[in-house]
Amino acid sequence: MTLLGIPILTLVIFSPLVGVLLLMFVGRDSGELAKWVALITSGATFLVSLPLFFAFDSATTQFQFVERIPWIVSWGVDYHLGLDGITLFLVLMTTLLTVVAVAGTWSQTTRHVREFMISLLLLEVGMNGVFVSLDVFLFFVFWEVMLFPMYFLIGVWGSERRLYAAIKFVVYTMSASALMMVAILAMYFYNYRATGVFTFSLLEWYQLDLLIEVQYWMFAAFALAFAVKIPMFPFHTWLPDAHVEAPTAGSVILAGVLLKMGAYGFIRFALPLFPGATTEFLPWLIGLSVVGIIYGALVCMVQPDMKKLVAYSSVSHMGFVMLGLFALNDQGVQGGILQMINHGISTGGLFLVVGMIYERRHTKSIAEFGGLMRGMPIYATLFLVIVLSSIGLPGLNGFVGEYLILVGAYQVNKTAAIIAASAVILAAVYLLWMFQRVFFGEVTNPKNEGTPDLNWREVSVLAPLIFLIVWVGVYPSPFLGKIETSASHFIQLVHTKPAERRAMLFPKMASSQETKPAVALRPGGVKTR
């Protein structure tokens, strides 16, 4: 199941740890060396993850590159990893954006470079771990592991109000995930009650038929944890603060990858584990997504700070992602998954370019700029391409995802789709208005005179993102083709009763081992199988 017998997922997850180990031996003062170690490690991790793309079999519904080793036997915890079309690109994006973040922060981080890079690399471990864990316990470990490097990135290397932002970020996410932890434990015991086996295996849990009342509570706990992460309205207020204070690399990872964990959580856990509650809550979730889309866009329009503007635009864009996923049809889900990637690329890119000007001028306030086009034509051009991708200009990546989402949503809920579509107007307003105020006009602020244009390093940091923006926009088939099977498998999973899922989840075993003997247990939460 692994790639040529190599446990490739383990390699991808833990390669950054090699860099962390090396960095521990790097002297406190040799920041330059620390950067190189981090760049080479993250670059190597990206290269290690690339074969996943080529070896991926887009025909199968099953998890690929699976590794499964018992870990904590008495609790039924396995070290169980696997990849499907939903997570393939999330992992690749994580490994790519980490390289980009390291390279993009090259000259911006001057204090405690070594520790900064350690945090980034640890973060990468946590993020990839979250995406490929098929054991819920393991998932939760990675989920929590991820929080701390991020906390430090914001709290130590952030700007003025960094502590407030860092604590807000941690408290928001921690309190939501605490509820999820309780729910996970409950699921563990429910599963035991139904099957007599203690296991954290997600695939086993998928077959657990919970009473609808129980599903409500479980769903609520999971959904809250993920909704905060995405973030969905009205749980979004940590995001603008976190982004404004975070250093560029932190913002790139936060927007590019961390927000996707929430969406991923809905796909992998909340929706398929609790199909009954899903059906019940879906109209509300669609409603919240649409509110987020419009609300985020409107608030975006009036932000005086570039980073805050981009942060609120994330609220709007992630609303699109969720709308697509909640449509639960081919177009919606594929569009939603593709849009996660697109958002990672374009919003990651936006944070990078804002970081580049911040490095030069030490301000992110839109009013401070104006007329930059004259002196910084390369910067202006690349900035514009990323802005257009974020606006959803057809021919660039954002459009493909957004349009598929709208097609999916329209079939389920016309009103929601139509309201969401109006965001195309608002996105143009807030992004182009910002662009106009920053780049057009005469240079009115003398501090902007002689601001140097991008250097080769900065251009090469943005180059892969620009390349992807055009590629996905013009020829998305390599992406959609790999997402397709897993996406429809996911939809089918949600629409299938848990008791009937076995053949779907284990097609090979289904023939030999027809059905497990039904285990009748005391009533209380689970339907007996």
Partner: protein, 641 residues
């Protein structure tokens, strides 16, 4: 299956890439060859394709490139189609486009500060997207072109980015167009849900099967598409961006904001004629909006002193004319006017550019006059353009297309005599304001700043050659559509035969006699001639009298020159109120006060609670362990029983 159609948009794309990536280093001469060169080559391929298309079965050539988007049963191929409509359009786009590129070599020649290569890079990209718009076989590919031309329009209006007015105009154009795009997106969503495909040909074919004539669905879809058209083609209520778009360099105004992009809305309506005829209500709305736009824009053009603004309002007005034609079901006639308008309006803009170039960027006609002596080629070609747009009879292109529209507005079953009346009044105003502009600019006494005057001279050949060629087209361009009334059996109506059976059929109307048609034509033609002559006399020989008349009608004049304060009204009602709600209510109250208030409040109470609980944290680990066990037991008990 034809294999070279991709070259038609491919060549301009190549020009864009090469000019964009290498233009700066390879220098001006290279760009001057590359920029117009790719468009010229594309024109030749278009011509070749056009001829082949005329022999092809069903008058249609197709080239499938690859599958663009595929998700479930949603498939969008990247396929190009040359049929009779797109075939005509590609000739106009690349033909007129080539002349304008050539012109730009001369016109933009001394542009160094804003980078010459950047201009050609954008202009090539524009042509690429415009070609994609008309060649795309499905709604989404069309939409790529649709948005792409909007982007290029944005970039080119904002070309003089240092001017704040240019930057604002660019953004305004994009945003206003996006309002229309919203309509387009929703319409396509509905179309996909109903038809299961976004291929335009398939939708046209199945329209009468899948949609009930006059039903809610088809009416909604067509109205939404028309909303998109009002954005791109600058109709009421979304016309406000086009006058401001004149901030762009003049060749841009000629190519994008007169000849090609602004007719995209008409293209879409004509392309979907089989859908539109199923929705009589939409047709009526289109005719009314078209007539109203034609009329109001013409009134505004009467009171402009900027030579380009006159032409801008005139464009809006003429586009209204074309929509009126579409609305009364005369799709072919509307497209006929698109074509003749492309010739004479491009000509007029380029002439005005030649003047502006010679006058060192002076655009106020009050500071011109008598220029015909200094710039005879520009002057006389401008007169040709003005005669064409005003409908000077029997020779000039505009006469045939315009009179055909007026006749259809009267005689079509969707028509009404009122449309004819509005159309004729508009035609008279058109003749009047055009000859006002002719006289103020080229005739009468010179009012030019004496210091500037001896610098003014005729433009170089790269500028005048396109003028002469376009002037030729502005004359002969109309001869392909000579109506039966005038041509009888001697001169065939080439265009009518060409489009035979292409557009949706509309029910036969009442048959009026030739006498009536002739009479109406005589009324509008004589009226236009009178208006031309009146304006010429008034503004070239009796300027003080014109001034006195204007002073008498001061309030009206102010209202017209401020375009009925539409911009101010929109700004107050829409822009400011949305901004206010977003800023003062959503952000500062909902986000900061309410949501964050709750969060911070929770945090504060947690801190207080923590302060109380601090007493329990006495460092005795056994106590903690007991607490954890009790808590866990409690949770599981609660969950399990």
């Amino acid at each position: 299956m034809t294999t070279y159609i991709w070259l038609i948009p491919g060549l301009p794309l190549l020009g864009f890439l090469v000019n964009g990536l290498l233009g700066r280093s390879l220098g001006k001469t290279f760009v001057s060859v590359m920029g117009p060169g790719v468009i010229g080559a594309s024109f030749l391929v278009s011509l070749f394709t056009f001829v082949e298309m005329l022999d092809a079965p069903g008058y249609s050539l197709t080239q499938h490139l690859y599958t663009w988007i595929q998700a479930g049963d949603f498939t969008i191929p990247a396929t190009l189609v040359v049929d009779r409509l797109s075939g005509l359009y590609i000739l106009i786009i690349t033909g007129v486009g080539f002349l304008i590129h050539l012109y730009s070599v001369g016109y933009m020649g001394d542009e160094d500060e804003y980078a010459y290569w950047r201009f050609f890079c954008y202009l090539n990209l524009f042509v690429f997207f415009m070609l994609l718009l008309v060649l795309g076989s499905n709604f989404l590919l069309l939409f790529v072109g649709w948005e792409g031309v909007g982007l290029c329009s944005y970039l080119l209006i904002g070309y003089y980015f240092k001017k704040n007015s240019a930057a604002s105009a660019a953004k305004k154009a994009f945003v206003v167009n996006r309002i229309g795009d919203f309509g387009f997106i929703v319409a396509t969503l509905a179309i996909f849900t109903i038809f299961g495909t976004l291929e335009i040909a398939a939708v046209n074919d199945a329209a009468s099967v899948k949609l009930a004539a006059g039903g809610g669905a088809v009416t909604a879809i067509t109205l939404l598409i028309f909303l998109a058209a009002t954005g791109k083609s600058a109709q009421i209520p979304l016309f406000v961006w086009l006058p401001d778009a004149m901030e762009g360099p003049t060749p841009v105004s000629a190519l994008i904001h007169a000849a090609t992009m602004v007719t995209a809305g008409l293209y879409v309506v004509a392309r979907l004629s089989h859908l539109f005829v199923l929705a009589p209500m939409t047709m009526m709305v289109i005719a009314i909006i078209g007539a109203a736009t034609a009329f109001f824009a013409a009134t505004m053009a009467l009171a402009q002193n900027d030579i380009k603004r006159v032409l801008a309002y005139s464009t809006v007005s003429q586009l209204g004319y074309m929509f009126m034609a579409m609305g009364v079901g005369a799709f072919m006639v509307g497209i006929f006017h698109v074509m003749t308008h492309a010739f004479f309006k491009a000509l007029l803009f380029l002439c005005s550019g030649s003047v502006i170039h010679a006058m060192h960027h002076e655009q106020d006609m009050q500071k011109m006059g008598g220029l015909i002596r200094k710039m005879p080629i520009t002057g006389w070609t401008y007169v040709v353009g003005a005669l064409a747009i005003s409908g000077a009879p029997l020779i000039f292109a505009g006469f045939f297309s315009k009179d055909e529209i007026l006749w259809k507005a009267f005689s079509s079953p969707f028509g009404h005599p009122l449309f004819w009346i509005v159309g004729v009044i508009t035609a008279l105003m058109t003749a009047f304001y055009m000859f006002r502009s002719v006289s103020l600019t080229f005739f009468g006494k010179s009012r030019i700043d004496p210091q500037l005057e001896h610098h003014v001279h005729e433009s170089p050949w790269t500028i005048t050659l396109p003028l002469v060629l376009l002037a030729g087209l502005a004359i002969v361009g109309g001869w392909v559509g000579i109506p039966h009334l005038l041509g009888r059996s001697l001169i065939p109506n080439v265009l009518k035969n060409y489009f035979d059976g292409f557009f949706a059929k509309i029910p036969e109307g009442i048959h009026y006699g030739d006498g009536l048609e002739f009479g109406l034509m005589a009324v509008s033609t004589l009226g236009a001639l009178a208006a031309m002559y009146g304006a010429y006399v008034l503004f070239s020989r009796h300027l003080p009298l014109a001034g006195a008349l204007r002073d008498k009608m001061r309030p009206v004049y102010r209202m017209l020159s401020n375009k009925y304060w539409i911009d101010e009204i929109y700004n107050l009602l829409i822009v400011r109120s949305i901004h206010w709600i977003s800023d003062k209510v959503l952000w500062r109250i909902v986000d900061v006060r309410i949501i964050d208030g709750i969060v911070n409040g929770l945090a504060a109470s947690a801190r207080n609670l923590g302060g109380a609980l601090r007493l329990t944290q006495n460092g005795i680990v056994e106590n903690y362990a007991v607490g954890i066990v009790v808590g866990a037991v409690f949770i599981f008990w609660w969950l399990l029983f």
